[in-house]
């Protein structure tokens, strides 16, 4: 039962991804062709509100539901892993038109072919785990 609240937040996320059309391959194409403001508007609005909100969370030391201070764990420093990893991710994002969230949401919408995408993204994650120590960081 303690997980039920996450189910609800997930449902909101799934509805939002569908209704914003961020799960659409077409919208991702529009974005990478700079032919519409739509995706930039979505991500931009979320980021601006996020920056302001996170600033105030830190400033007033807001606590979470169990009374612990809200902490955002910074990613470790580095360059190559972010630029290489990001670029590989970008190849896949443009090709499949879906990042990890929308992949799953698409299955719920009824595009069952995304089961293949999800399956192979799990394989890709496994391959990364295998090669982790051989890749530049």
């Amino acid at each position: 039962m303690k997980f039920i609240k996450f189910l609800f937040v997930g449902i909101v996320f799934g509805i939002l991804m569908t209704k914003s059309e961020a799960i659409s391959w077409y919208r991702i194409q529009e974005m990478f062709r700079f032919q519409s403001f739509h995706m930039y508007g979505i991500i931009g609005t979320a980021v601006v509100l996020g920056i302001v909100g996170v600033y105030f969370i830190k400033k007033i030391g807001l606590k979470d539901i169990s009374g612990n201070p809200i902490i955002l764990h910074p990613k470790e420093k580095g360059f190559w892993r972010y630029i290489f990893g990001g670029t590989i991710f970008g190849f896949g994002w443009a090709l499949s038109g879906a990042c990890p969230g929308p992949m799953f949401v698409n299955i719920g919408v009824g595009f069952l072919s995304f089961i293949v995408v999800v399956l192979f993204s799990t394989v890709g994650t496994y391959l990364y785990g295998l090669l982790e120590n051989k890749l530049p960081n």
Binding site: F6, V9, G10, I11, V12, F13, G14, I15, L16, T18, K19, S20, S24, Y26, R27, E30, R33, I42, I43, T45, V47, L49, G50, I51, V54, I57, H73, K75, Y82, G85, G86, T87, F89, G90, G92, A94, G97, C99, P100, G101, V105, N106, G108, V109, G110, F111, S113, F114, V116, V117, L119, F120, S121, G124, T125, Y126, L127, Y128, G129, E132
Partner: protein, 186 residues
Amino acid sequence: MIEFLMNPWPWWFSGIVISLVMFILLFFGKAFGVSSNLRTICSIAGAGKKVKFFQFDWKSQIWNLVFLAGAIIGGYIAKNFLSYDVPLELSEKTISDLAELGFNKPKGIQPEELFDLKNIFSLKGFLTLSIGGLLVGFGARYAGGCTSGHAISGISNLQMPSLIAVIGFFIGGLIMTHIIFPLIFN
């Protein structure tokens, strides 16, 4: 109100709701990041026996799998109870660019040419779906996050690694769209 929710949501409203999802998860003591679920799934499947990267306490990530289950249900609800059956309004410029690559005008939210179930059974269709997924899964873990973890959460926290990762997302997306697409779709 109902009318507003039934129609495609405008970008500003969608952006507000995404940031709400992030803040609610922070308030629940968690971090917004979808792709780490793929690592959890590998661990549950037993990948930790062979590969150290998957040896971690995956039970601490159950909340995120529940979130993911909710996301699938949310997609079902949005499609079946919160939508009119209208074609996606794509920019005219994109429609004509995609026509050159052999894609018809949008009839729904996704192109049938790629995501109709019969594509699983054609070599080209299967390769597109599987290689796309493979690259997303590999790249997300190498970069330590995806759109939710880096572009939204990471940049909200003004993290340099996230900015570098997002620049990478665009380098990859632009190369795929403008250089590789004309070679594979025509």
